[in-house]
Each structure stands twice: as C-alpha cells, then as structure tokens.
Amino acid sequence: MAGSGLSIGCVVRSHLLAADPGRHDAHIDECLRCQAEAARYRTMLRSLAALQDTVVPAPAGLASAVGAHIGGLDHDPRKAAGREVAVAAAGVVAVASALALWRRTISA
C-alpha cells in the first residue's frame, strides 16, 4: 500500500493516466479503491470548508485592549499627510544647507 491508501499499481496508473482525463475517469469508474480514495478526498475538502463556520472565540478583553491602544493613535489621514510633507521639507532644507556649506568650503 502507498501512503495515500491506493495500491502501488493504482498510484502508478493514476500518474500515467493523469495526462488523459478520459482514460483517468474510466479507470476510476472501474476501480473501487480509487473511488473510495476520491470519496475520502471530497469528504476532506468538505470538512475543511465547514471549519470556517466554527468560530474560535476571541480572548475576553480583546476589544477593550484594542480600545485602550487606539486612544493615542493617529487616525486622521490629513495629519499623517501633513507630517509626511513636513518630514520631506525638513529633508530638502537639510540637503540644501549641506550643499551650501560644501560650496562655501570649496570656494574658501
């Protein structure tokens, strides 16, 4: 038996038949072992999808902890944008000052 539950013969054949869906389906139609395997696979996928409906409850206090954190946080995008402009302007001034200083040093 292979790890998947298929006989080695079926595993080899399924690989060989993979390129030919028609023959692959025909093999499954006549192979009870492969039919069982396919049924298990479908069951597994259905069970996985069903897990989404099972909620894992959040720890008590999560919402209040979030509330306590956001109190001091910046939220207004205009403030954030203004801060970015201020930082950029400060950078430009710093570069310009450095250039002026460098020119003065060179000319001296």
Binding site: G3, S4, G5, R40, Y41, T43, M44, L45, S47, L48, A49, A50, L51, Q52, D53, T54, V55, V56, P57, A58, P59, L62, A63, A65, V66, G67, H69, I70, G71, L73, D74, H75, D76, P77
Partner: protein
C-alpha cells in the same frame, strides 16, 4: 463571510472612518471572533493569535481613513489579519502544543450543536488537529484556500509567493492531511 447587519455596519464604518472611537470599538466587538479565528488557524498558537488579532485592529484603525469600501469590511480585515499573522508568525516561528490543545477545547465548546453526524464531527476534530500540525507555509495555504475559499491568486498575493508555488504548497498540504487522516483511520 458577510457582515451580519450591513446597514448598521455601514453607519458604524462611516463614523469610525471619521475618527469615532466608540463606533470602531463596536466594529471590533462584532468582528473580533472571526479575526481571532483566522489568526488562530494561521498561527496555531492561542497567545500569538491574540496578539495578531489585537495588532490587526490597531492597523485597521490606522488604515481606516484609506479604506474605500471596495471590498467588504470583513474581507479587508481578513487581509490585514493574514499580513499581521504572517509577520508575527515569522517572528515567533514556534508552536505551543499546550496552548493549541487549550484552544481546540474552547473551539469545541463554543461550536453550535452539531447537526451533522458524529462521524463527521469526529473527522472535523481530527482535521483541525491535522491542519494545526502542518508546517506554517502549508497550513497558511490550506487555511486560506480550503477553509476560507480564497482563490489561488489571492493566496499567492497575501503570502507573497507565485501562484504556482501556492498550488504546489496546497497539493503537498492536502496530500499530507489525507495521509495523516487515512493512516489514523486504516
């Protein structure tokens, strides 16, 4: 996963976008379990998932003014959750079996009364355990594709990998899950 009450959610969202912390707290309360569930499934660690969920909402608050509403709020939160969990997971990169067991018990206790057969419920329990034992990269694609129904392209983008890599990981992860489940059954 749709928002439960679209009208209330839209109004809360507008107020939160305008800086109303109370409205945002309401949104946190209504989305905390789904965000935590996703983080926990991606990380497989209860405490790390709690950190990721908290960080997700903090990032969401900061980014909220830029949220245009092209996608549902829950979809947007899911994307932030994936990015945050991935970042925190990379940092931690370790699993805690004890905390995982504790969370799985909580998960079972909180689940609605199972309408399905005992056999299906039992398979679900073994499947959850098997998913949690997958290596992080494989678990991420299974959670996003097979549990949350994302497309291969969405999974690839969220995890910053190629679509081919996402498909290969998914194939390997499914094979691993299948082998684990069948081996235990047979």
């Amino acid at each position: 996963m749709a928002d439960r009450n679209p009208i209330d959610s839209a109004e809360l969202l507008d107020r939160a976008r305008g800086g109303d912390e109370g409205a945002f707290n309401e949104l946190v309360r209504s989305h905390q379990h789904e965000v935590f569930s996703l983080a926990f499934r991606l990380l497989g660690n209860y405490e790390l998932a709690a950190d990721a969920a908290q960080e997700t909402f903090i990032r969401a608050w900061r980014a909220l003014p830029r949220f245009r509403g092209d996608a549902a709020l829950s979809t947007w939160l899911h994307r932030i959750t994936v990015n945050t969990s991935w970042t925190l997971g990379k940092r931690a990169r370790r699993h805690s079996a004890a905390t995982l067991d504790e969370a799985i018990l909580l998960d079972d206790a909180s689940a609605p009364t199972p309408e399905s057969s005992a056999e299906t419920a039992e398979l679900g329990g073994r499947l959850r355990a098997a998913v949690s034992e997958l290596p992080d990269p494989q678990r991420a694609v299974v959670v996003l594709k097979d549990i949350y129904g994302w497309s291969h392209a969405e999974v690839a983008k969220a995890l910053d990998i190629s679509v081919t890599a996402a498909k290969v990981r998914l194939h390997r992860a499914r094979r691993r899950l299948k082998e684990k489940l069948w081996r235990e059954v047979d």
